[in-house]
Symmetry: C2
Subunit: 326 residues, 2 copies
Amino acid sequence: MNVAGNPELLAANIRAGNRAALARGITLIESRRADHKATARELVQELLPATGNAIRVGITGSPGVGKSTTIDALGMDLITRGHRIAVLAVDPSSVRSGGSILGDKTRMARLAACEAAYIRPSPAAGTLGGVAARTREAMLLCEAAGFDVILVETVGIGQSETAVYDMTDFFLALMLPGAGDELQGIKKGIVELADMIAINKADGDNLPRANAAAASYRSALKILAPRSQHWSPPVVTYSGLTGSGIPELWQTIVEHRAAMNASGEFTQRRSLQQVKWMWSMFEDRMTARLRNDPSIRAKVKATETAVAEGRLTPGLGASQIAELLR
Amino acid sequence: MNVAGNPELLAANIRAGNRAALARGITLIESRRADHKATARELVQELLPATGNAIRVGITGSPGVGKSTTIDALGMDLITRGHRIAVLAVDPSSVRSGGSILGDKTRMARLAACEAAYIRPSPAAGTLGGVAARTREAMLLCEAAGFDVILVETVGIGQSETAVYDMTDFFLALMLPGAGDELQGIKKGIVELADMIAINKADGDNLPRANAAAASYRSALKILAPRSQHWSPPVVTYSGLTGSGIPELWQTIVEHRAAMNASGEFTQRRSLQQVKWMWSMFEDRMTARLRNDPSIRAKVKATETAVAEGRLTPGLGASQIAELLR
């Protein structure tokens, strides 16, 4: 398939909402071929004026928390309200595990069957930086294609939550019922990033445990100074299975957007994200220069080892590496 | 004063424990003159084999928590056990406020009068990265001069806790008694970095409040997965005023070191710190290249603005900046 082709034409087809063009555009973004990369950059720049209008929601949770069920239920609820939903994922492990968390669309069976939804598995690239960069650009393409809610899923391996936080407007952490010692299991950093903690499986016999967990999280959140003066992350319960509490999840996200718009933080967060993203891509490019030439790569490795073993000061090591880029 | 001079001779004098030489070496490190910088790099490399043997402890806490009193009491206790103590600080605000947190040695009156202690105020540089880099190298010089406990104080402005965490073996967070809503005041990130939380002013009428605060922090810590399998950060109370609990603070630090040594994490943390430090200095150097040339600086600024305002994709922005370094 000639995915490169004419970026202007591809852009026009994506803007017209053509799903095949959207898929081709994302494939282009994910390609590692140098000519594809150049065309992809043009494509994204061409579409830029048509992006930025969606509500971008990051969703994290450990395996088993019911992310797919939740996204399926939330997505269907949004579609009945007239929204168009794109579901993306950041899963740096997908290349090794052989299966993306979103590879199996049957896990979001109802949503996968809807014309108003677009589901795309995580790009299968090696590094988190690469996966995140491709997902960010895929998000822009989905926005240009008219999807007005973007849900970005992550299983939270390594720093992937931070990567998803850095590309979304609202970060939702899904948890399972459980209290006391079970809270120990929370990965460090999630609670600090979350704009809302939602406890799934608040149904049937689980209800008391879900409520107890919510109370624990609420008191735990007290030790953390909120990121924004205008938003204290709520802790809620819901059931992906019965759908109870799902409309309220969305209501909270809408309220958050209104609060951030009113305080000016929405524009500010988006601007900061854009600039941070640029610098992170700049660093990737510098790193690539150090990595692509085998003789430079070997020198960097030797310097790094000498510093790790305490034979060379970090300052001299940094000078040596900086000289390699002259 | 000719602080540059002969780095080999200066190194020998520092290794011999000469305090004037140590002070001159640190002044050299803090100098911004290009020739001084080059000599400083040689000096640090020369001393490198004599470094690394101290226990490096980071100490953070808001103004008013009693950091100076605590360091004074802890330092005096350590000196009676035969240790030699160096006290450094990372305070990026010192240049603006006109006074470093350690500038006034009378705040550590007993320690300042001891031959076995060396107190050095925070370098007065503009950026956190610069202050942290100079403090890290000052720490190495102090180790070479025979100080076997390094206490690095920070008031916790911006990311200064992370900078101090990245240069120490043990990160101690000091807190004031208080419970419930007062816990709200904790800066995000501190609890996650701390290897121990110690609540000061556990004396007299404050005792019940200190114990209540300790209980709150203990239950709050439950939501955070510990950084190490071999260490769960304890929450303790003490009094810098009466000295009660001070020996136990040190005992905990010693136990932590033993646990980290046994698990191999000590060596690993030090190696990772060295390599991370090198890359951060490398980035500083790249940034300096972009900043030092006025015409390059103006182009970077224009690119950054275009990206922030959504007129240019972060990917194209990164390419433009990367081209400037060709």
